[in-house]
């Protein structure tokens, strides 16, 4: 009964979405206030209906209702409650329903909190948002219905992939989707602006908080995913350039570029066409990611769909969205004139460089991800594009990004002085030099690439701090003056400081943990010891252990340094029955200097075990840095200008009908 209610709510949601996608659009065009006014209640009702559908599916999972096929295939009565709930989106149908839920939540948020938007513009945004919802609701209803019944109901379910039964991964998809789908807001704002034929500073102010929120979620989602890979896959790696990882990384790169170019639109009324295009491309990449993961074009842990009908549907939808929006762009964009001029060396110039490099990096990842598919389709030849390709092409592109991102915020708008900006960063320059020298002394035997790498990270952190201090006139003015400036300064500038410093921490974490990692792989008998860098790992033996829905072997290692015990580490090797699968639970001890990482593997049969140890210096900086970036985004989001919103454009009411006229006038 509950499942049928969910199904019914979803059908109703599709009908509401169809109305919301058409009526307000026509109303805004014709200037009919009643039709325009329909957008808000429609978005809220649609949101409530999808929430009912999602709630119904969640209920079926929580009560282990195995008469629902989706629950029977992906859940099991012996699973802990957390994984019963996360099981809702741990499968193809449920994850699409989550996608849809987040889409309509964003639409509902615009309807409820978008009071500062002019009504016709808001109506158009919500209509575009509803068009996307029509596509995805149909996709769920016609190809991936999670409410299908199974008769007779089996006694128990088939269980959730054990790799996914993990707290890190339980929350990874919701964050990732909040990011992915959040970019649909940027897309809807861009398309609505194209329909109106008007992009200005106010538009940039409206779109920026939504993009920023999506970016924060996506950063968090990617960070959680890599952290999960690090401790769950048991090989100490955290980024594999897996096509599925790339699918989430491409929108992140494009979204990061979008955040920065929107600043230029807001402050200088320039780069308008490009920003609108970037908003369209960012969401298109999110859709492409969904296609790659959901269609089964790529086979991996993440791909649940094997039915070709699904792939064809989502590909058709992808093409419709991209072709439709780009056609509209081609028609409308030439009419939009850019405003402010600027010299190549200026804040704008720095942001253009950021966009150039991030887009190239994004295109590189896209090329590397799709090339094997194209080559296979065209010639039948199979190749693999793996980490070495991405490290060789993506890495060098990032170096100028990092060099420039420290200088950019120091440059004034319109026309800057590069030498002057670098001179004002003298603390950062000296910090980077000192960082390189210290690294040289501590790690004189290489690898030599790591030394400038550390210098780069230190440069970014120091320059971000120095830029913040410069803004406060810290140490150059009386402390009272600095405090007064702190009170008055804009939050978004502090967001930049935090996010850029966080990126510097990520670099240091990546460089240090890959350059100076110690790894040891061996067979050990209980009582034996193994040296890992300055640490001694003593194997105390391994014992069997029963978990709620798995059997495990737990190894115990006593770790000492200079004869003093520093940790007892207990990694596990688990075997699940439903479905049968082995997973590794690495034991990780995080200290100030980095992580110690221990894995217990297979028994050799004669009382010994294969074991692996790693010492990964500074690897935790990767995740601390990611959190700093998210924090920076959140600080920026609290900026007063975004909360109060830009004041309505001059002549607000007359504009709905006047939009077409102003287009013609241009």
């Amino acid at each position: 009964m509950i499942a049928e209610l969910g199904h019914y709510a979803l059908v109703l949601a599709l009908s509401v979405a169809l109305v919301q996608a058409t009526v307000p659009l026509y109303g805004a065009w014709r200037g009919m206030a009643g039709w325009v006014g329909l957008a808000r209640p429609a978005a809220i009702v649609q949101c409530l209906l999808v929430m009912i559908a999602f709630g119904a599916l969640t209920y079926a999972y929580v009560t282990s209702d195995f008469s629902v096929l989706n629950v029977a295939s992906n859940s099991h009565s012996a699973k802990p409650m957390l994984y019963k709930i996360s099981g809702v989106w741990g499968n193809h149908e449920g994850s699409l329903l989550l996608w849809l839920l987040i889409l309509v939540l964003f639409g509902g948020a615009v309807a409820l909190f978008g009071g500062n938007l002019p009504a016709p513009f808001r109506a158009r945004v919500l209509a575009v948002q509803a068009m996307i919802a029509v596509g995805f609701t149909s996709f769920v209803l016609f190809t991936s219905n999670p409410f299908v019944r199974l008769l007779p109901a089996p006694m128990d379910g088939r269980g959730l992939n054990p790799l996914l039964q993990d707290p890190g991964l339980a929350f990874h998809p919701p964050f990732l989707y909040l990011g992915y789908v959040g970019f649909s807001m940027a897309f809807s704002f861009a398309v609505a602006a194209l329909i109106e034929g008007r992009v200005d500073a106010a538009w940039a102010r409206w779109v920026r908080p939504w993009t920023l929120a999506a970016w924060c979620f996506l950063t968090m989602g990617i960070g959680l995913g890599s952290w999960w890979a690090y401790y769950e896959l048991g090989w100490g790696g955290w980024w594999f350039w897996d096509p599925v990882e790339n699918a989430s990384f491409m929108p992140w790169l494009a979204g990061t570029a979008l955040l920065h170019s929107a600043i230029v639109v807001e402050k200088r009324d320039s780069l308008k066409n490009w920003t609108v295009l970037l908003a369209i491309l960012t969401f298109s990449l999110s859709l492409l990611g969904t296609f790659l993961v959901r269609s089964g074009v790529l086979t991996s842990v993440h791909a649940f769909a094997t039915d070709p009908a699904r792939g064809v549907f989502i590909l058709a939808f992808l093409i419709a969205v991209i072709a439709g929006s780009l056609t509209l762009y081609a028609i409308r964009a030439p009419a939009m004139k850019g405003g402010g001029l600027f010299a190549p060396v200026s804040r704008e110039g720095g942001l253009v460089l950021n966009n150039l490099l991030l887009s190239t990096a994004c295109a590189t990842v896209l090329l590397g991800t799709l090339y094997p598919l194209f080559l296979d389709a065209v010639t039948g030849e199979k190749i693999t594009v793996g980490p070495p390709f991405f490290n060789m092409t993506f890495g060098p592109l990032m170096v100028p990004v990092f060099l420039a991102m420290a200088v950019g915020p120091m440059l004034p708008w319109k026309r800057g002085d590069l030498l002057g900006a670098v001179q004002r960063l003298k603390f950062a320059v000296s910090a980077a030099v000192i960082g390189v020298l210290i690294t040289l002394v501590l790690a004189y035997d290489g690898p030599w690439l790591a030394i400038p790498g550390i210098g780069l990270g230190v440069w970014m952190i120091a320059a971000s701090l120095e830029e913040g201090a410069y803004r406060l006139r810290l140490f150059r003015a009386p402390i009272g003056e600095s405090l007064r400036r702190l009170g008055r300064s804009t939050r978004s500038a502090w967001g930049t400081t935090f996010a850029h410093a966080g990126a510097g921490m990520v670099i240091i974490g990546i460089v240090a943990s890959s350059a100076w990692q110690v790894e040891k792989l061996q067979v050990m008998h209980p009582g034996e010891s193994q040296a890992v860098g300055p640490y001694q790992f003593k194997f105390e033996g391994a014992v069997p252990l029963d978990g709620p829905n798995y059997a495990a072997v737990r190894g115990t290692f006593r770790v000492s340094r200079d004869g003093r015990e520093v940790a007892v580490m207990q990694p596990e090797s688990r075997s699940y029955q439903n479905p049968p699968m082995e997973t590794t639970e690495a034991a990780i001890r995080t200290g100030w200097g980095g992580d110690l990482y221990a894995v217990v593997g297979d028994p050799t049969g004669d009382g010994a075990w294969s074991t692996r140890f790693y010492n990964k210096p500074m690897i935790h900086w990767i995740w601390i840095g990611s959190l700093m970036m998210v924090l920076g985004g959140l600080i920026s989001l609290t900026d007063r200008r975004f909360r109060v919103g830009a004041p309505a454009r001059p002549g607000g009411a007359a504009r709905a009908a006047g939009a077409a006229a102003s287009m013609a006038g241009k």
């Binding site: 897996d242 096509p243 991996s300 295109a363 090339y371 030849e381 390709f389 092409t393 067979v523 028994p603």
Partner: protein, 163 residues
């Protein structure tokens, strides 16, 4: 002496009857020589796990990856050079097994793509910038501020100086 003979006999027996002790294939046993082991590990990082997504056999828990690891160790222990050991695997599984695709006719676009994109984007930015500064500068020069605008500008500037 006797023990050594006995051990050799047991070993010969195992070989003859093809009963390899189970642990020899089941577990990743590193090679005794650390130099050889380091070479084998470096090769492991360049080969993909056949049943995973873009994971090297070094980074995979899959049984097939383990078998390949052991195969590489066997080749290295048998005296193969790195190139020969990789060639041995590629001969059986094709270029697909290499995580770094080889540079050849069909992958030229892949390897040069990023550079081409960068140059194209730089060219477009250059053209856009030149055209825009040309046209806008001309427009600005053609339309000097009117008296009314001059007055507003002055008022705005005065206002700003006071705050």
């Amino acid at each position: 002496m006797l023990m050594a003979l006995l051990r050799r006999l047991v070993f010969a027996f195992c070989l003859a009857s093809l009963i390899t002790p189970a642990w020899a294939v089941a577990v990743d046993t590193p090679l005794a020589d650390p130099v050889l082991e380091a070479r084998a590990r470096a090769i492991h990082k360049q080969l993909r796990c056949l049943v995973c997504q873009n994971q090297s056999i070094e980074d995979s828990n899959a049984g097939l990856a383990r078998d390949l690891r052991i195969l590489v160790r066997d080749r290295i222990a048998a005296g193969d050079s790195d190139k020969a050991a990789i060639g041995y695997i590629v001969e059986r599984y094709g270029d697909w097994v290499l995580l770094q695709p080889p540079m050849k006719g069909r992958t030229v676009l892949l390897w040069l793509g990023p550079l081409l994109f960068l140059l194209l984007a730089m060219g477009l930015i250059f053209l856009w910038y030149r055209r825009r500064s040309g046209s806008t500068a001309a427009a600005v020069a053609a339309a000097p501020l009117s008296a009314d605008e001059q007055a507003r500008l002055k008022a705005l500037l005065d206002d700003r100086e006071q705050t």
